[in-house]
Amino acid sequence: MLLVIVSGLAVGALYAATALVYNVMFSTSKVLSVTTGHICMLGGVFGAWLVSDLGVPSVIALAGAALVGGAFGFLTEIVAVRRVLSRPVEHLWLLTTLAMATMVQQAVGLWWGTEPRPFPRLIPQDFSAGVLDQKYWLPVITVIIMALGLEFFYRRTMYGKVFVAMSEDVFAAQARGIATSRVRSLSYIIAGALGAVAGFAAGQLTFAFFAVGHGLTLYGFIALAAGGLGSNLGALVGGLALGLFSTFATYFFGGEYQQTIAVGLLIIILLLKPEGLFGQRQVRAV
């Protein structure tokens, strides 16, 4: 039973990290990029490639994966978001980010192969460690550091405050002289790097697999919607809760019901509290 809880926390941590990445991108662009899950996939795949195929030490591989993620985030912003935001057609970014996600998945599939490949052991540890196995604890520790880091960034650094300003009112921020397009690019780079780090930490859970992205995009979104769009605490709580809920549902009801129950949870929460657990109610002045 303890193992069920621990594995639920681990996979929930990955969902929470994905939700945090959504938040960072959403804060400056109001875009929910479909590429979020694929950023994590890139972290896992490139991490495995750097350590296993090129023999790079884990810490440098982590930095390398973060670099790849940041670059992909930047590319997403340039190609799929920047031009699209200025168009009057609403939600066009959904299509463009979906296109980016599909392209990156197929490209990685062609290069890396379509079978899951192993992610290396990062810290020497015996495989009979049970609940203390690093594959459970690395994602949890990583997401906590990520959440704390983001809080520090938003409250104590200038750029963080600029992000918050942009998320509240873009035009007012522009009026105050903030280069909103550059800040947006920066936010996508940061989001990409964070997502890749999360994917790297969770690599031993997911294996280095090209098709991990779609599932994470969906589950990360469920975690975000349940926890509250724009709230980092909500993302953390929502993700961990979703992970625990899914594993309990599988444990008691069976694997066929896992996805049904996860989405059912989302529907119930949204019916009861549409803005999510920690979200802010949108008030529109009339």
Binding site: V4, A10, E115, R117, F127, S128, A211, T250
Partner: protein
């Protein structure tokens, strides 16, 4: 005046006769030059691409070999390959193109059962023979798809052969059946449980697992708690199978595992935490790719391997039966056309319905008026999962 008209008329008649005669000659040679078109729906990218790319090698090699020898009855084979990427929608679109625009004479594939479920009815409606290479039982039916003939084994044959090994050779009786939540996994787990019950054994534990589920600890723990003495997984997802074997190994449970051929796929080797986790694992396999007691492969398998090895680049580090199967699909078409004397679908149907003991590399095939599955039970075996060598495997201990 009349003479001149008659003369002109005669001249015209002679010219007309000449034109008809030469056009008759031309159309004769045109017919001989008309190629036999084979449409090949293969998921060269996407899921099960490793199987498809290996099958593709076999198909292409067979086509080249036949064309070099002069074709079938003097007609060259034109192979039209379409990459469906494992997507049933693409498979359907390509099938329609091949059938109605390119007007192929035969369709081989698609590779994945899911795609084949979608394209089978289309080929049947178009009245074009379809060589089926998916394993799900519903893909062939003498009444619904009279022109669909299957050389690969059926899913039931895989399951029966594994059940037989677990129950009668390993003498186990408390079976845990684990499938994945895909269409294949769900139906296979159901079939496996039904066949076990027919053999008088009720599974002690059944579970369906999402192929991407990151941790299988609870399923394996529950199976152990239920007292299982053999695990039987039915999934082609190497990630899931790798995790299953890792969990079993990490908790130091030495229960045997007997099931889907993917248990012996090479990608599993890399996913295992320790190589010894592959011990005590057995998978349904084939006589054609099993080393005999003398360490030798069946003659026809060896012959094809020797012939195709230069093309494959020397070492064979994937399961060879896919190549053998691909090769055989084209040879089955060659046999059918030669026996029927034409590519007329009705004649092809009659020719294949009356084919018994057609010797291929992958197996020896027999079809009949009410039998569209040509793979014999006797060609199934169970292999040791960790015995891969140069494309083939060793027999599981009897």
């Amino acid at each position: 005046m009349k003479e001149r008209m008659l003369g002109a008329g005669l001249l015209r008649a002679i010219v007309a006769a000449g034109v008809v005669a030469t056009s008759g000659l031309v159309s004769q040679t045109a017919l001989a030059a008309q190629p036999i078109k084979i449409g090949w729906l293969s998921s060269l990218t996407g899921p099960l691409s490793s199987a498809a790319t290996a099958e593709n090698q076999g198909v292409q090699f067979a086509v080249e070999e036949i064309n070099k020898a002069g074709g079938i009855n003097g007609q060259q084979i034109e192979l039209l390959t379409r990459d469906t990427a494992g997507d049933p929608t693409k498979a359907v679109n390509f099938a329609q193109q091949l059938l109605f625009r390119d007007k192929v004479n035969f369709i081989i594939g698609p590779v994945n059962s899911g795609e084949s479920l979608a394209t089978g009815p289309i080929a049947a409606k178009a009245g074009i023979p379809n060589i089926v290479i998916g394993s799900i039982d519903e893909l062939t039916d003498p009444k619904k798809f009279p022109l669909a003939f299957r050389p690969i084994n059926t899913n039931t044959q895989w399951i029966k052969s594994a059940n037989d090994y677990a129950l009668n050779v390993l003498k186990r009786s408390k079976v845990a059946v684990i499938g994945d939540t895909s269409g294949y996994g769900t139906s296979s787990a159901k079939t496996a449980a039904e066949l076990l019950k027919k053999a008088g054994v009720e599974p002690v534990y059944t579970a369906l697992v999402d192929p991407n589920k990151t941790d299988l600890s609870d399923e394996i723990s529950k199976a152990r708690a239920a007292g299982a003495d053999v695990l039987m997984p039915w999934s082609a997802a190497t990630g899931l199978l790798g995790r299953l074997l890792n969990t079993r190994g990490d908790m130091q449970w030495d229960v045997p595992v007997v099931g889907h051929p993917s248990l012996m796929a090479l990608p599993i080797k890399e996913l295992l935490n320790k190589p010894e986790y592959w011990e005590g694992v057995y998978a349904a396999g084939y006589v054609s790719t099993t080393y005999g007691a003398d360490g030798k492969l069946p003659e026809r398998t060896q012959a094809l391997m020797d012939a195709i090895r230069p093309k494959l680049g020397g070492e064979i580090n994937f399961t060879f039966w896919w190549v053998a199967l691909g090769y055989d699909t084209v040879k089955v078409i060659e046999h059918a056309v030669k026996k029927a004397g034409s590519t007329d679908p009705k004649a092809i149907q009659a020719a294949l319905e009356n084919t018994a003991k057609l010797e291929g590399v992958y197996a020896t095939y027999s079809w009949g008026p009410d039998q569209r599955n040509g793979f014999p039970d006797s060609a199934m075996v169970v292999n040791r999962a960790n015995s891969f060598k140069d494309g083939s495997f060793e027999l599981a201990p009897q």
